[in-house]
């Protein structure tokens, strides 16, 4: 494991950097009721994510990475532990706090656009629902968001008329429309072809560099994880748990050339071996 920078065991994971924690997970775990018993989806895990960090959750299916993201998203209540956003608990008496959730933008694997709304209306939807902005402002804001993700000229199209890559861009624009601090992305590019995926990875990096958002992205692609992450959180299956956290030291902005370098390839290989080892154990 020498190829990988600073891999640390889970117990040592806490406030990793000097920057203050925007998202703090303390012993967060989830068990689901299955028939007459319970099945652990994620053993209690702790992690601290700093403001402006790019974190990637990596692991095979069934390792609890999506479960943890859903809990951070406020869609799934943890069975144990606490999630704090900017120092305040996200969950209060079984409910997700709306003021904190508005600081989180969610992007789902299958874009999840509303098929009866135009692209522009989709992006505007969260603004319409929250109603904190005058109508004209919402539209121009939606258009600006679409421009930011490189989808400026498709505002009047319907979701089924545009490509899968474009749909994901629209989904990102929709999540950004209310200017959240954090972008939580659940395998956002998993269904795309390799070329679209590459360009979306590049654009996501640019977006992150220019906006300074904190991003937590779930993936099972090792190359995607190494390319995007400041830190990779490696998950292990059966039952799901955080295995280790790996620092990725490559300088920004990262280019496609980097992905062909021996250092990059070596890191991907190390991750591959490590994941294969984890899956062998379970």
């Amino acid at each position: 494991m020498t190829g990988i920078g600073g891999a640390r065991s889970n117990s040592a994971v806490s406030g990793s950097s000097e920057r203050p924690a925007l998202i703090a997970l303390t012993g967060v775990g989830k068990t689901f009721d299955v028939g007459d018993g319970t099945a652990p989806a994620l053993l209690p895990s702790s992690l601290s994510i700093a403001d402006g960090e790019f974190i990637v959750f990596l692991g095979p299916s069934g390792c609890g990475k999506s479960t943890l993201l859903r809990m951070i998203s406020g869609l799934l209540e943890p069975s144990v532990g606490a999630i704090d956003i900017a120092g305040s608990p996200l969950w209060f008496r079984g409910r997700c706090r709306a003021d904190l959730r508005s600081r989180l933008g969610l992007v789902f694997q299958d874009a999840s656009l509303f098929p009866w709304l135009t692209v522009e209306e989709n992006v505007r939807l969260p603004l319409d629902l929250r109603g904190r902005m005058p109508r004209g402002g919402r539209l121009s804001s939606a258009r600006a968001m679409l421009a930011q993700v490189g989808a400026a000229d498709i505002g009047t199209r319907m979701p089924h008329e545009i490509s899968g890559g474009m749909r994901q861009r629209v989904a990102i624009a929709r999540a950004l429309s209310y200017d959240p601090d954090v972008l939580l992305m659940d395998e956002p590019f998993a269904a795309l072809d390799a070329i679209s995926r590459e360009s979306l990875n590049l654009e996501l990096q640019t977006l992150w560099l220019t906006t300074g958002k904190t991003i937590v992205l779930v993936t099972h692609s090792m190359a995607e994880a190494v390319f995007l992450a400041d830190r990779i959180v490696l998950f292990s299956p059966g039952p799901g748990r955080i295995d280790s956290v790996i620092e990725v030291g490559f300088p920004r902005p990262r280019t496609l050339d980097l992905t062909y370098s021996p250092e990059f390839q070596g890191m991907v290989r190390d991750l591959h071996e490590r994941l294969a080892g984890l899956m062998g154990q379970s």
Binding site: S102, D110, S112, L113, F114, W116, M158, H160
Partner: protein, 261 residues
């Protein structure tokens, strides 16, 4: 040159349908002549068409048609409002659905036209029993389709609404109802036909006007050809009503993808 397969040809139904119709009429005509069927049992197509033409040019017949149309439309609108509302309520409270299920099923398996005499006792021979009957028949499919549509909303889209902190009311208005709309319109398409059935049967039993009443009175005087003409008129009315609802679909569900994305 690209070969157009016969089954894909656009003109095919335009050619074949009139031919089939003509062949059917010819067979009908031939059968009546060949077996010498009494016109009380089965009149030939020609007198039937003549009677229908007479019906189409008679003001009295049109006023009966209008009565049936009005009764059907009133009952259908009532069923639409109540059915959609009931579907929404059941979707909001699954417990209510579970508890009311036996009653809903019991009411659904009951031949509702059996209630018409009761309606007459309650409301007399006016418009009341007619509207009530034509409302009760389509109520169930409209309600169940509304419920089914709301239940079919993918969890992923519910998650999206949750991530925007949508209120229950917003969830209903911005996601559940728009998503359920094609389902509801399907319920309406089934319902409009049932509403017409309800009106006509109510007119059989309790009417003093309407095509159902006219039909019974023609049977009682053995005017079989006129009875057939009324059936044709009912078919025309049914087509108009159904086309209205189908047009509603085009209006409400205009730009949607053939398959949801």
């Amino acid at each position: 040159m690209k070969k157009v397969r016969l089954r894909d040809a656009v003109w095919l139904p335009w050619l074949v349908t009139p031919c089939l119709l003509a062949a059917g009429l010819l067979a009908w005509h031939g059968a009546v002549i060949a077996w010498g069927v009494s016109p009380f049992i089965l009149p030939a197509p020609r007198p039937v068409l003549e009677e229908w033409m007479a019906l189409l040019s008679s003001r009295r017949a049109w006023s009966h048609t209008a009565m049936t149309f009005a009764g059907t439309l009133a009952g259908f609108l009532l069923a639409t409002v109540l059915g959609v509302a009931a579907g929404i309520l059941l979707s909001l409270w699954p417990t209510v659905e579970r508890l009311s299920k036996p009653f809903i099923v019991a009411f659904q398996v009951l031949p509702k036209v059996a209630l018409i005499p009761l309606f007459v006792v309650w409301m007399g021979f006016g418009l009341g029993p007619k509207i009530l009957t034509s409302a009760i028949l389509p109520f169930y499919p409209i309600m169940m389709n509304t419920l089914l549509g709301i239940r079919s909303v993918p969890e992923g889209l519910r998650d999206v609404m949750a991530s925007f902190d949508a209120s229950r009311f917003q969830l209903l208005g911005r996601l559940e109802l728009p998503y359920a709309l094609p389902f509801i319109v399907t319920g309406l398409e089934v319902g409009i036909v049932l509403a017409l059935v309800g009106t006509v049967v109510a007119e059989f039993i309790s009417g003093s006007n309407g095509l159902g009443y006219l039909l019974v009175s023609r049977i009682n005087s053995y005017e079989t050809a006129q009875m057939f003409a009324i059936v044709l008129q009912l078919c025309l009315l049914g087509l108009v009503l159904y086309a209205g609802v189908a047009g509603l679909r085009r209006l409400l569900v205009p730009r949607r993808a053939p398959s949801r994305s």
